[in-house]
């Protein structure tokens, strides 16, 4: 990365102590598939096979992997929307595995999600103001109108956007609304699931800059999930590479991209076409040469 923001990530807020924002310990998730043969039940799907990592406060942690590697399953478990088959997950030191929904409010207050598809992440029948205010309603916060106006401005939209409907906005603007909704309950952790994959190139840069600004200003912890290695490289301090339900490698972005240790990571990085590599003569055949297992 041309310019790595120097210095350690901002000191954790006083009072929260040294506990990590998120700590995941040996999490597995197994799905049973409906029977297709009479004699034996069909083999279960191991979506996660023992995943462990920890994310300190304020860090920008990337999760990279191809489709089917288990990153969305992991995301749902982090957000308390799905239960792991085994292992534990803690948010700010408090374990949430196995808790019923009514005792998960501490997760709802601290962790919020931003999604990929601008078309499907906003309810077409609700006004933008109600969409952004929904977490406030769910968690019983007051004076919602001012808070919504404040949030819309924070993401670069005019306050009067609150009275309009999602279909009146472009893809990039909808992602901003999605981000405003995530920030409504003043969470400490933002989990972004492929937030820019569905956007045009010229709009993607704007949204990435917005996320970076907000994470810095509000000293948030960011978990950024994507299949696009170059986006994760730009956004994150540390990155975990996932493959077939396991984390095959973790490290600082610099180390993982510059000198990957695991063979899968090497193959993954070798396969990524970039403008620079192409112009220095890397052809489609070169990208493919590394792929032969």
């Amino acid at each position: 990365m041309a310019e790595q923001p120097t210095g350690a990530p901002p000191a954790p807020e006083p009072g929260t102590g040294p506990t990590e924002a998120i700590s995941v310990h040996d999490v597995t998730r197994v799905y049973q598939r409906p029977r297709t043969s009479l004699r034996s039940a069909s083999p279960p799907v191991h979506a996660l096979r023992g995943v462990s990592f920890a994310i300190p406060q304020g860090q920008r942690f990337g999760i990279v992997g191809e489709s089917g590697c288990g990153k969305s399953t992991l995301l749902r478990i982090l957000a308390g929307l799905d239960r792991p088959t085994s292992g534990s997950v803690a948010i700010d030191g408090r374990d949430l595995t196995g808790l019923p929904e009514r005792r998960l409010t501490f997760v709802r207050e601290r962790l919020q999600l931003v999604f990929q598809d601008p078309m499907s992440s906003l309810d077409p029948r609700m006004r933008v103001g109600d969409i952004v205010a929904e977490p406030l309603v769910a968690q019983g916060h007051g004076n919602r109108r001012e808070r919504v106006a404040e949030l819309l401005e924070a993401v670069g939209l005019r306050a009067d956007a609150a009275d309009r409907y999602p279909h009146q906005f472009s893809g990039g603007q909808r992602q901003r609304i999605s981000i405003a909704r995530a920030l409504a309950p003043r969470p400490k952790i933002i989990v972004a699931d492929e937030p820019v994959s569905a956007l045009d190139v010229s709009v993607r840069a704007q949204v990435l800059n917005l996320i970076a600004d907000l994470v810095d200003e509000l000293s948030l912890t960011l978990v950024f999930v994507s299949h696009d290695l170059s986006v994760v490289r730009h956004v994150c301090d540390r990155v975990a590479v996932m493959h077939a339900g396991q984390i095959v490698e973790t490290g600082s972005t610099e180390q993982v991209y510059e000198d990957p240790r695991h063979s899968y990571t090497r193959r993954l990085i070798a396969a990524v076409p970039t403008l620079g590599r192409a112009l220095s003569g890397v052809s489609a055949a070169d990208l493919n040469r590394e792929q032969r297992p």
């Binding site: 929904e101 998960l104 709802r108 962790l111 919020q112 078309m119 992440s121 309810d123 077409p124 999605s178």
Partner: protein, 292 residues
């Protein structure tokens, strides 16, 4: 094909994003006009009818249409036009109650089946399919066998038989909505299932409900006409288009008009509701445009 696939083909794709309102299509206009006319007729019949539809007057039996009796008179001397007017009241009443019963039970059932865990949804739909094995007419005949004929019997029977259509369609729509990111976001924000059902699912399936309601109305009108025709629907003397048709049967050779007028009334009403259904479907969900 499991029930899901069958639902996917029958249930509509609930488009997550409504582009600008679709233009008023022909079917919406024509359908709307016809339905308005039928409702107009019903309301008018409360206030005025050329003659008392139930007044038997043998002296004017089987008169041809004239300035006095616009549609002529039937074998008991009753004015056909007045019967048609008042008959529209019965038709609308049966339709509203039947669709009401079907929607009030079918929609929540569909939403619960869509939001419940998979096996529970499966079970509910299995039971739902079972109810499909007892079409409206059969149910009504069974009811009539036990409780005797009557408008109420007809309405309740048609209503209950229409529940599975609502439940299946709404469950399909709910399943799709529950998969959208805005519902996942609501869950992540701490919204409970009830809030999600009311705030997200219901508004987004409302398009489906209205479309199925108008089509359900058409089915109810047909069913009521058939029941009255068989003598299980509205008992005399309340005028009913179905029964008018039945009474006209033995006089076909002398006065075919006695069959034509109620028959056309039924056909036009059903056509109106079906066209309204098509038009509303185009308006609410372009992807449904060519469905059915």
């Amino acid at each position: 094909m499991s029930v899901q696939e069958r639902e996917a083909t029958v249930a509509s794709a609930v488009s997550a994003d409504r582009k600008r309102r679709r233009p008023v299509t022909g079917s919406l206009l024509v359908g709307g006009l016809i339905v308005a006319a039928v409702i107009g007729m019903a309301l008018l019949s409360f206030v005025w009818t050329p003659h008392d539809p139930t007044l038997v007057d043998p002296s004017v039996r089987l008169q041809e249409p004239s300035s006095d009796y616009w549609f002529g008179t039937d074998k008991f001397g009753r004015d056909v036009f007045s019967q048609i007017l008042v008959g529209s009241r019965t038709t609308l009443f049966v339709g509203f109650v039947a669709v009401g019963v079907a929607a009030l039970i079918g929609v929540p059932l569909g939403i619960v089946a869509g939001m419940a865990p998979r096996w529970c949804g499966e079970l509910l739909m299995r039971g739902n399919d079972l109810l499909l094995a007892f079409p409206a007419l059969l149910l009504a005949i069974m009811f009539a066998a036990v409780y005797g004929a009557g408008t109420l019997v007809a309405m309740v029977a048609i209503g209950i038989a229409s529940i599975p259509h609502f439940a299946r369609l709404i469950r399909g729509g709910t399943l799709q909505i529950m998969r959208t990111e805005y519902v996942i976001a609501a869950r992540a924000a701490g919204r409970g299932p009830f809030a999600i059902a009311v705030r997200h699912v219901l508004p987004n399936v409302s398009g489906l409900v209205i479309v199925q309601a108008s089509v359900g109305f058409a089915i109810a009108v047909l069913a009521e006409a058939a029941l009255s025709f068989l003598g299980f629907g509205t008992p005399p003397p309340t005028p009913s288009w179905g029964r008018m048709l039945q009474e006209s049967q033995e006089l076909l050779s002398i006065a075919p008009r006695l069959a034509v007028f109620p028959g056309v009334a039924i056909a036009v009403a059903v056509l109106g509701f079906n066209l309204l259904g098509d038009g509303l479907r185009d308006r609410f969900d372009p992807k449904l445009e060519d469905r059915r």
